[in-house]
Symmetry: C2
Subunit: 188 residues, 2 copies
DNA sequence: ATTTTTGCCTAACGAATGTTAGTTATGACG
DNA sequence: CGTCATAACTAACATTCGTTAGGCAAAAAT
């Protein structure tokens, strides 16, 4: 991918984040790039390519992240801690793309959407496995695995809705807070 | 609001849920209603009215819900339990509208969007107050209040992404599972 | 020096968008 | 019966949409 194409992709991701994919026109993206709409087509095949690349690049990053965590750590609690940390760091390093990944994958065409959902399911499954391992190892309560994983993933997925680059907490601090809360719970 | 208008609103909410507000055309809604696009304008002022009514009706429902919980219950733990239960029940009784409320409020015009955000903030503040009360009453751990509330709200907000009307769990069962997990945490 | 490639341009396409104006069929109410 | 309200219609509007075709200037490669 050429520099210019990457630049266009980045600009598009920012606009998609602000306005949503459907409400962002090719002309909006062109304007941000300081170029006529038609000129974009020297670099991209179409608007959907920008969405597609964004969604699948992020999916790959998240999946690669959790694979590394699974390879490096053994203890389930540590795996979970690092999976959360990795997720939040990827997200904070690609905040625009993460928002698009989270919100706009629905606008992928049917075929690609199906592939995307598969990747997402695989990612979520990794979290369920970690929670199950923690239970088997006697580290975690015998909670409903699906439910516990869902709560963790909800918190992770929701971060894009409130994360602020200028906020006081770093990505790893957010991850640590989240991990601690999920482990400890509210009850005294 | 006439029956027919309500019918159109309901159909629109379903389409907005499936395709998103921006990607749903007035003609799509008209087709669902078995009518020409222009005919809708006997009933509505415009497309945005459908979004506006959806977002603000749901906001009112959620806020009324938590006010009632605050009036009826005193104990912070019970308040939280019932706030979660009420939220999930409202959501499951209005699943299409809830999804739109969650995803598409961004497409409100600037003025209404600002009002909407204020309502949302007020709602979220109620959760923070409950958590803080729980800590003050010695029921809850001395967690970071913002963070704890955020995790709870993340889980609540994310429910629309996986909730299935045909699922095996009722709204109150989901609420109970969620509440228990948040209170207890993972750690044994 | 000549050719090729790159990156943009203008112009235009057909389709879809939200919305309006004006009209008509139907049925309720006096 | 005549009047009015309701709910739909057809036709059209000005825009905007994603995209294509063809060309042109500058830079890179030969």
């Amino acid at each position: 991918m050429t520099n210019r194409k990457l630049e266009i992709l980045t600009l598009a991701q920012h606009l998609f984040k602000e306005r949503g994919y459907s409400a962002t026109s090719v002309r909006d993206i062109a304007k941000a790039a300081g170029v006529e709409a038609a000129s974009l087509y020297s670099h991209i095949n179409g608007k959907e390519e920008l969405l597609d690349r964004t969604c699948f690049t992020m999916a790959e990053r998240f999946i690669l992240g959790i694979k590394e965590v699974n390879d490096i750590y053994f203890d389930a609690a540590l795996k979970l801690k690092m999976a959360v940390d990795t997720h939040v760091n990827i997200l904070s390093n690609n905040i625009d793309a993460s928002v698009v990944f989270q919100r706009d994958w629905r606008h992928l065409n049917e075929e690609r959407r199906a592939e995307f959902i598969e990747l997402r399911n695989a990612y979520e499954e990794e979290f369920r496995v970690i929670v199950q391992n923690g239970i088997d190892e006697g580290l975690f309560n015998e909670v409903d695995v699906k439910f516990a994983a869902l709560t963790i993933l909800s918190s992770l997925n929701w971060i894009v809705e409130w994360y602020n680059t200028e906020g006081s907490l770093s990505a790893s601090e957010i991850a640590e807070n989240l991990y601690n809360f999920i482990l400890t719970g509210l009850k005294k």
